[in-house]
């Protein structure tokens, strides 16, 4: 579904993403982990069209989409969320989601129905008419997901939707992601919360200094010496054991 071939992104002298290749098949739930500054969000920005890659190819459904603008990529079926959430603050929750739905639906009435359905799925129904800016962070993260879902993506990119959540909010959003995945959605999930990722992802890619240093099942990755040295640390291994 999505194939990255030796994707590279530089900012001046800094190479934020270097020669990253990966393959996402229909129905996958791929996790991308790595320490701060590893290039995770930069990679998302390249995939979703916010940055033009300096090298390599981004192939979505057989089409090279590298450098295409974000709205085109979204219409092709690839939608992303933002780590620093970007709600339409002055609009209601349901209007936020409806703007996503309007990408596929031309009629406002149909889009509103769709938005109400998605709001329900994402557990935002009690807050449907609240202004987006009035929501606490946990619900704003959900709103990010809801809005993206309303565009009916086939591949959804979630950028740290679990960061900064309370344990109960965390459980809730993991359930939501599992539900979406069970419904047939393909996902790439960036996460800093390693424990959550271990519970969720089928496959994990570890980024470090812009390079993919390991790929495999959560268990394989957690045993990988380079990953332990670069990111997890020996304490994590002990805690898992």
């Amino acid at each position: 579904m999505l194939t990255l071939e030796r994707v590279t992104k530089r900012f001046g002298g800094l190479t934020a993403v270097r020669n990253v290749s990966l393959d996402v098949r229909r129905g996958d739930l791929l996790g991308i982990i790595g320490p701060n500054g590893a290039g995770k969000t930069t990679l998302f920005n390249v995939i979703a069209g916010y940055y033009r890659p300096d090298g390599g190819r981004v192939v979505f459904d057989g089409r090279d989409v590298g450098g295409r603008p974000p709205h085109v990529i979204c219409r092709l079926g690839l939608t992303r969320t933002f780590q620093l959430v970007k709600p339409f603050g002055n609009l209601s929750v349901v209007d936020n989601v409806m703007i996503g739905a309007l990408t596929r639906l031309r009629r406002v009435s149909a889009a509103r129905l769709e938005a109400e359905r998605v709001v329900e799925t994402c557990g935002l129904a009690p807050h449907a008419n609240a202004r987006a800016r009035a929501l606490p962070i946990g619900l704003r993260k959900r709103l990010e997901v809801a809005r993206a879902l309303a565009t009916r993506p086939r591949l959804l990119l979630l950028d740290e939707v679990m960061a900064g959540l309370t344990p109960s909010e965390l459980t809730g959003i993991i359930e939501l992601i599992r539900l979406l995945h069970a419904d047939g959605l393909t996902l790439i999930v960036i996460e800093h919360v390693m424990a959550a990722m271990m519970r969720l992802a089928q496959r994990i890619v570890v980024l470090h200094h812009g390079e993919a240093i390991a790929e495999g099942t959560p268990a394989e990755v957690a045993r990988d010496r380079r990953v332990i040295d670069a990111y997890l640390g020996d304490e994590f291994v002990l805690a898992q054991a």
Binding site: A48, Y50, H71, R75, F82, F88, I99, V108, T151
Partner: protein, 325 residues
């Protein structure tokens, strides 16, 4: 339509009053005030399309107003054609100019965009005031009065209804922007352009379209104004004062609301005409006093009703609904 929200009823009521007023009042001063209130309201509504709904705050909309005014004035005075052709020409020219401003809105943000729009209107001012051979330069152009609808030589009562139709159409455009697919997408672009892009909205194209629509609407307003007033002075039609008037009416009334520009115009225009009439006979020391009142009104609104008059009305409505419950 029993489900019409209160603010739409308020708008219809205001337009109804405006429609009925000429039937009972024949006083030229009152009708003149009414026409100006409607015209400035409609022009502020045109500004609101870019400034309020698309979030592109322009301080150079006089450029489009002047294009419309000059197109009509030159078409009638120089080429002896109908001002309606001038209106058409003004629309075409302002769409081109609006495309330029819309392009700038994708390159420049906030204050830098606003400054570039001022520069744009100032360039047109210089062209209009220096190109003596064609525009008659800083002397301005008297618009010939030839009675009839085709020549837009109308009496006060007829002008009320022309202005009313323009106001009604512009109000309708704004309502469309609040309820249509494009309108919601534009709201997304206004709130957060990156997020809108992520949701599949071609934000740049949409902004250019909104600014262009706003420009064309402003040019149409400029044409009618020139035909009504009968004189086009470059230092007035391209002035920053005028650009600020469009913005000010809308900010005071409520940005991004359909009724706001008209409420702002009712307040500011009637205040202005009243003060002018009251103080014009006095010593020249009072000549600028309405500017002081302008400033005071703006400060009061920004301090006590930053969302404009419609915001205050909304809060009162909510408060009453709670009190009833």
């Amino acid at each position: 339509m029993a489900s019409l929200p209160p603010r739409r009823w308020a708008a219809l009521a205001l337009l109804g009053v405006a429609a009925l007023l000429p039937l009972v009042v024949r006083d030229a001063f009152v009708l003149d005030s009414l026409i100006l209130i409607l015209m400035w309201g409609a022009l502020s509504a045109a500004w609101n399309v870019a400034g309020g709904y698309a979030g592109q705050v322009s301080l150079g909309h006089a450029a489009f107003f002047g294009i419309g005014a000059y197109s009509a004035a030159l078409m009638t005075a120089r080429f002896h054609q109908s001002p309606w052709l001038g209106l058409l020409l003004g629309v075409v020219l302002s769409i081109a100019a609006g495309g330029v401003i819309g392009y700038l809105s994708n390159r420049l943000r906030g204050p830098y965009f606003a400054l570039s729009t001022i520069a744009f209107s100032q360039v047109l001012l210089i062209v209009a005031s220096r190109w003596r051979g064609f525009t008659a330069g800083s002397e301005g152009i008297p618009v010939p009065f030839r009675p009839g609808l085709w020549t837009l030589g109308l009496g006060h009562v007829a002008w009320v209804y022309v202005a009313l139709v323009v106001a009604l159409v512009y109000y309708g455009v704004q309502v469309w922007l609040e309820t249509s697919r494009i309108g919601y997408q534009l709201a997304g672009v206004r709130e957060d352009e990156d997020a809108a892009e992520a949701l599949g909205i071609a934000s740049r194209r949409l902004k250019i379209r909104a600014v262009t629509l706003s420009a064309a609407m402003t040019a149409v307003g400029g044409t009618f104004w020139a035909q009504y007033v009968g004189f086009v002075d470059p230092f007035y039609v391209f002035s920053i004062d005028l650009s600020i008037r469009f913005a000010l009416n809308t900010i005071i009334g409520g940005m991004g609301t359909a009724l706001g520009p008209f409420l702002g115009s009712i307040l500011i225009t009637s205040l202005e005409t009243y003060l002018r009439a009251t103080f014009s006979g006095l010593k020249t020391g009072f000549a600028g006093i309405y500017l002081v009142i302008y400033g005071t009104a703006l400060i009061l609104v920004v301090r006590f009703a930053p969302e404009g008059l419609t915001g205050v009305a909304g809060r009162l409505g909510a408060w009453r609904a709670r009190a009833d419950a």
